[in-house]
């Protein structure tokens, strides 16, 4: 029996209704995942501005990328963002989760409050923070001024702009990580704390030797999710700073967007996009290995 005949035979014997059920997803996958991905890979070797025919340029997009200081600057900015955002995210989310896991009055109300920014549109949150961060009229600087402290150039000084964005992104996303930490905390068996208490462990000891080790899988998940989320930093610099001041908030995603949709360099943008995806994949793989080895 030939391979084709074997396949037909297998198809006939299997439940054909099953294929019908998966068909919508297969169509969706082919149209919105596989085709764009293959098209992007083809674009890497072409120059194309949407309206003119594609022009084959071989490896020129890669050569351009290697000599493009702005691309590397954007990578550096994204890494700076991640270095501030991820630790901040974990510390704040864990701290709030510990508080919300205690027998606090109105804790359900506070859980809802902390989760609220997650469900609000990113653009709306960013515009609100733009008002808060305003140098002359922002509420943050007005508070600082009223207590005699100098105003902070939150978004208009290269040294402050990316940390300001990281702070805002942490506020926006912390709710989802609080929920993950809460699930992790509630899954820690009470017996472990009882045993530690019998051994005379202090609250700090219990936190260091029971809570943290038991939360390791959650921390791994949060680090990986924050890393992937952080790499896709776009709305905040797009709305708040346009990549400035002095390119200090030009994230890689914003740079790719500019290349594609401001300058119509679809081929170059596809090259940057695919290379960036490979970098994210590599970073996440290394992160996972390191955290697993540590734990």
């Amino acid at each position: 029996m030939t391979t084709a005949a074997l396949f037909r035979d297998r198809l006939r014997k299997s439940d054909s209704q099953g294929y019908l059920f998966v068909l919508p997803y297969v169509v969706y996958f082919l149209a919105f995942v596989a085709y764009p991905l293959i098209f992007s890979i083809a674009l890497m070797f072409n120059r194309w501005n949407i309206v003119t025919p594609m022009e084959w340029i071989g490896l020129k997009n890669f050569i351009r990328m290697i000599h493009d200081p702005l691309f590397f600057k954007s990578l550096e900015n994204t890494v700076i963002f991640l270095l501030i955002h991820i630790p901040l995210q974990i510390v704040v989310a864990l701290g709030l989760a510990l508080l919300l896991n205690s027998k606090l009055r109105l804790r359900f109300f506070f859980r809802a409050v902390y989760f609220m920014p997650v469900v609000v549109s990113g653009v709306v949150v960013t515009i609100l923070w733009q008002q808060l961060y305003s140098f002359d009229y922002g509420i943050l600087n007005n508070i600082l001024s009223s207590i005699g402290l100098p105003r902070i150039p939150w978004l208009v000084d290269a040294a402050y702009a990316m940390p300001s964005i990281a702070l805002m992104a942490t506020w926006k996303n912390v709710g989802i990580y609080i929920v993950l930490f809460l699930v992790g905390l509630q899954n820690i068996p009470a017996e472990l704390y009882e045993a530690a208490s019998l051994d005379g462990a202090s609250r700090a000891d219990k936190f260091m030797h029971v809570t943290l080790p038991m939360l390791n899988p959650t921390i791994i998940a949060i680090v990986i999710l924050s890393t992937i989320g952080g790499f896709s930093l776009f709305i905040e610099p797009y709305v708040l700073t346009g990549g400035g001041p002095m390119q200090s908030t030009l994230s890689t995603m914003l740079y790719i967007y500019n290349q594609a949709f401001y300058f119509d360099h679809m081929g170059y943008a596809a090259t940057l996009g695919i290379v960036f995806a490979v970098i994210i994949l590599g970073v996440v793989a290394v992160q996972r290995k390191v955290i697993e080895a540590e734990s």
Binding site: Q131, Q247, F263
Partner: protein, 433 residues
């Protein structure tokens, strides 16, 4: 029978072959439908609606369907997407000359000079010297110059008067001197409440169309970034413009921040504003009590001659997807008549690109009622458009980055910033060749 069919085919082919200059006119009895896209703002929709209604009344055989350009981040994005999807209208009156190269490169537009009466129509309206600036590198005209919004300096008379400034500054030195007087803390809280000027400090390419670019055109006596396809803005006027804005920020006459909560000119938090005539209607609507004047842009102290500026032109083009080019051209001619230009002034407060604006008695009553618009009409002949080169947005982005480094944050000297902007422009031009 077969012979007759063959003959009909041959005859029809010969008709198609003779249509090289788009002279084929549809039968007057046939109903032709044209689609026309005006800009999607209230005034221009009203203007388009008025003109289209009279056209449809007077031309029952050629029906025009008016549809404002679908709202997006920019008209250029919509038009590029429409060209890619072959869903362009027959006629569009919001063509930005800076994006024209993208449209023509893809064969999206019809050369208007292929119509036999183009020369006579356009030369009766547009001054010859200005018309030349709209010619594409292949010698054809793909756009009909329609309206211009000369970027000029608006100034707040009350704020100037309170600071002891009685006339608008004409030179950089005068502007900076006035800036010293006008910029102040009015309530003694240690914060500046009134600024001489303000610009969006984000490095966004199109923001430079309202500061560096018009100021460069003014300082250079009417030059644009390119001359005969060569980069020519790496010169003294560009250095002086960067230097001027560096002083504005360095001396704190312009804030290094974003204003929140409304337009600072309308709120009387800044004394000058660089904008086109559209701003007049905005001020009259949202700040009717604001006492303001309009003046040409300041120029370097040593500059002599007429002060040019950018025209922020919006022109009319016919897309190559049209199946009725001749009728589309007739409609374009209808859009640009003197009567409809008067309507444009009355409804939109925008300046038609025509040489007789100040001499044609038809327009005189309008300017009598709207004396502020006279400044724009006087400025209109001294305007420049955009260079018809590819990747203009990316070039302005490069200038924007250097402007930010030099003018806003002062980390580069003006000469270094101009040199680096030119170097980056060269790389962009080279890469895209």
């Amino acid at each position: 029978m077969r012979f007759h069919t063959a003959m009909l085919f041959v005859v029809s082919l010969s008709y198609v072959g003779c249509g090289g200059r788009h002279e084929s006119v549809s039968s007057s009895t046939a109903q032709v439908e044209l689609t026309y896209w005006p800009a999607p703002n209230i005034q221009e929709i009203q203007l388009a609606d008025t003109i289209v209604k009279t056209w449809n009344r007077d031309h029952p055989s050629v029906h025009v369907r008016m549809q404002p350009i679908p709202v997006s981040q920019s008209t250029e994005e919509v038009l590029l997407a429409a060209i890619a999807g072959k869903t362009t209208p027959d006629v569009c009156s919001n063509i930005w000359p800076g994006a024209l190269h993208d449209y023509t490169e893809s064969g999206g537009l019809i050369p208007l000079d292929s119509f036999s009466d183009f020369d006579s129509v356009v030369s009766s309206r547009v001054p010859a010297e200005l018309l030349k600036t709209f010619r594409s590198s292949d010698g054809h005209y793909f756009q009909f110059p329609w309206k211009t919004n000369p970027v000029m300096m608006f100034y707040n008379k009350r704020l100037f008067h309170e600071a002891g400034v009685e006339s608008p500054p004409r030179t950089y030195s005068e502007f900076l001197l006035d800036g010293q007087r006008v910029t102040r803390d009015t309530n003694g809280d240690g914060q500046t409440d009134v600024w001489m000027g303000e610009r969006d400090i984000r490095p966004i390419w199109w923001q430079r169309l309202f500061d560096f670019y018009p100021f460069y055109i003014a300082a250079s006596g009417g030059k644009t970034l390119f001359t005969d396809g060569k980069i020519t803005y790496g010169d003294e006027p560009a250095v002086s413009v960067f230097g001027f804005f560096q002083k504005c920020y360095g001396e704190h006459y312009f804030p290094r921040t974003f204003f929140q909560g409304g337009d600072p000119f309308l709120l009387e938090k800044k004394a000058t504003h660089f904008a086109g005539p559209w701003e007049v209607a905005t001020i009259q609507k949202y700040a009717p009590g604001l006492d303001f004047g309009v003046a040409p842009l300041p120029v370097p102290d040593s500059f002599r001659g007429p002060v040019y500026t950018t025209g922020d032109f919006k022109n009319i083009s016919i897309f190559s997807t049209t199946t009725h080019p001749r009728e589309a051209w007739e409609f374009v001619k209808y859009l640009v008549t003197a009567e409809h230009d008067l309507l444009m002034l009355e409804i939109c407060n925008q300046i038609p690109v025509r040489g007789d604006l100040q001499t044609n008695p038809l327009f005189a009553p309008y300017f009598r009622v709207n004396p502020l618009m006279i400044s724009f009409a006087q400025q209109a002949p001294f305007t420049r458009g955009m260079d018809a080169v590819p990747d203009l947005k990316e070039i302005f982005d490069a200038i924007s980055q250097e402007y930010e480094l030099c003018a806003v944050y002062g980390t580069k000297t003006p000469a270094e910033a101009v040199r680096d902007a030119v170097a980056r422009t060269s790389s962009i031009v080279e890469w895209n060749q």
